[in-house]
């Protein structure tokens, strides 16, 4: 049954996932090519100086792409469920509602992560060829927060979309925006170094939120 749910989710979200994979990889390629051009124009020393002395990361173009991808993924996955009322059908499957919802959310989060992965790997390899490992680590740690924001955006958007009552969607959306703000408080390299583990735990815990909306939906709240 879980396999069938995964297949159903893949059918719904494949276009979104492939687009995410393509766009994020293109952005990563663009960042590396731009970095290469800056090095050609000003010399590698200038880039290193900017990274060491000014905390520049040179991949800031990437900042909001994972966030947008997370929102689109939630929309692709749960808008059809709500508009066609197919969520009601899913809750009547011979598998518990909790298990089915968690499977859908886990599929979304993991597939989103996998679509981020090629871009991140390209970024890592591209940077490793141009700058010292310690600087690559700083850039990747900075970008990791943006990827994490993509996952948080996915869970929070799912929470809002699955909410059956419109007037509740607004405070939930406001709450989601405020929570997502935490991921973008600084763009300096390694600013989240001491917080990223806690932030990851909180992000993973956000998988619990859409279940509240599903309970309300199951209770027939309109």
């Amino acid at each position: 049954m879980i396999k069938s749910i995964f297949y159903k989710e893949w059918i719904k979200t494949r276009l979104c996932l492939i687009s995410t994979f393509v766009v994020l990889t293109i952005v990563a390629v663009y960042c590396i090519v731009t970095l290469g051009r800056v090095i050609d124009l000003h010399g590698a020393a200038k880039v290193w100086q900017m990274m060491i002395l000014k905390d520049a990361v040179f991949v800031t173009l990437l900042t909001y792409f994972p966030l947008v991808a997370g929102i689109f993924m939630a929309a692709a996955q749960f808008f059809p469920e709500m508009s066609r009322k197919s969520l009601k059908l899913m809750l009547h499957l011979p598998v518990s509602g909790e298990k089915a919802t968690l499977s859908m959310l886990a599929f979304g989060a993991v597939s989103l992560l996998l679509s981020f992965l090629p871009g991140a790997v390209f970024l890592y390899v591209g940077l490793s060829m141009k700058i010292a490992p310690v600087l690559v680590w700083r850039v990747m740690l900075t970008a990791a927060v943006w990827y994490l924001a993509g996952i948080a955006a996915y869970f929070l958007s799912s929470f809002v979309i699955l909410e059956p009552v419109w007037k509740f969607r607004i405070p939930e959306a406001i709450m989601s925006v405020l929570l997502l703000r935490v991921f973008f408080l600084s763009s300096s390299a390694c600013a989240y170094e001491k917080f990223i583990i806690s932030l990851t735990i909180v992000t993973i815990s956000m998988i619990l939120l859409p279940w509240i909306s599903v309970i309300r939906f199951r209770e027939g709240k309109q």
Binding site: G43, A44, A45, V47, W48, Q49, M51, I52, L53, D55, E98, M129, K130, I131, A132, V134, L135, R138, M175, L178, L179, V182, L185, S186, S188, A189, C190, A191, Y192, E193, K194, F195, S198, S205, L208, L209, W211, I212, I215
Partner: protein, 343 residues
């Protein structure tokens, strides 16, 4: 799972409330508050503050409430306003009984500032060790960066992105010969080409010893600086002032502020306490006295130090308007560059 979900949601809402309510209150009620520019006048033996009158005209007021006009202020702070006095043809032949000339005053004038953010921010651990004897008048940034890790000193060539093992070995061996214990606990450098010479690095090693490392003709020049008994340095700063009199500043674990002379002598200053990880400091120095502005937890204190022995001449605490703050959660701080929750 529904109970767990609701508990988590409540936690998130509480977290947002304790973050955003104090922030919103502070955002709506805070007003920008300027500190009047303050300098110590060696002639008067008093602090002088620049004030703006009701007619928007600038005047000076000393710490005893005596007011001075703009031009009187220039004459009472001749080192700081040297260019104005020279332009007006009013620069004196002697100040405080000492014969002076503009070149001498210019050579001894300096400004140094330090913010806790500089030492509390995430660091790459990579530093630029400049060539001190390039034979050129202008300094140049090096083509490599270095780090002082557990294994020793490592250099990375920036163009090729490769480690220069040979250079690293030369520097590591010389540092080891001088008794340096890797890794470095603190590295201070003034990485800029906008200075007339380079003093290299002031390094506190893992054993708490202080070293001065310079790059001379691409070879290491290491000097161990003897510290007074019981001095455990936790912070250092390199100075490159025109008078070449100092090598830098250091701060001990008991928050004492010391000046490191060019010949390696250590002098305890009259500054009562200075915590480089929490306090902001601004030094405006001249041939007679150094004005020190120390900002700690929103309180500003001015100190005047004698320029020769760094003894305390005078201090003055400035009243700050009381700002009502609601305790709450914040993620950023003016004291460090990290994003993390803090109450």
């Amino acid at each position: 799972m529904s109970k767990l979900s609701k508990i988590f949601l409540i936690h998130l809402l509480v977290f947002l409330a304790i973050w955003l309510i104090p922030w919103s209150y502070a955002f709506l009620t805070s007003r920008p508050e300027g500190r009047p520019f303050t300098l110590y006048s060696a002639q008067l033996g008093r602090f002088m503050q620049m004030e703006v009158g009701a007619d928007r005209k600038m005047y000076w007021m000393d710490d005893e409430g005596v007011e001075y006009s703009d031009s009187q202020g220039d004459s009472l702070l001749p080192c700081f306003y040297m260019r104005q006095l020279v332009g007006d043809g009013l620069f004196p032949d002697s100040i405080c009984g000492r014969e002076v000339n503009p070149a001498m005053v210019r050579m001894h004038n300096f400004i140094y500032s330090h913010r806790p953010m500089e030492v509390n921010s995430p660091s790459s651990g990579l530093y630029f060790l400049m060539e001190t004897s390039s034979g050129r008048v202008d300094l140049k940034m090096p083509s490599d960066v270095c780090s002082l890790g557990k294994e020793g000193m490592m250099f990375y060539d920036m163009e090729s992105n490769r480690e220069n093992e040979q250079l690293g070995k030369v520097f590591t061996d010389v540092l080891n010969d001088e008794g340096f214990s890797f890794p470095a606990r603190f590295v201070a450098a003034n990485t800029t080409t906008h200075k007339s010479y380079d003093n290299g690095f002031l390094i506190i090693d893992s054993a708490g010893e202080l070293f001065n490392l310079r790059r001379v003709k691409n070879l290491p020049s290491v000097r161990r600086i003897e510290l007074p008994d019981g001095l455990n340095p936790v912070w250092a700063a390199v100075t490159e002032y025109e008078d070449h009199a100092t090598l830098g500043y250091i701060c001990s674990d008991d928050n004492k502020f010391y000046v490191v002379g060019a010949d390696g002598d250590i002098t305890l200053t009259g500054l009562p306490t200075f915590n480089p990880f929490e306090d902001e400091i601004l030094l405006i120095g001249n041939i007679f006295a150094h004005t020190v502005r120390l900002d700690r937890n929103g309180k500003t204190t001015y100190f005047a130090l004698d320029a020769h022995d760094f003894s305390l001449l005078k201090s003055m605490e400035v009243e700050c308007s009381s700002v009502v703050e609601i305790p709450g959660l914040s993620f950023t701080s003016p004291y460090d560059g990290y994003v993390r929750p803090r109450f």
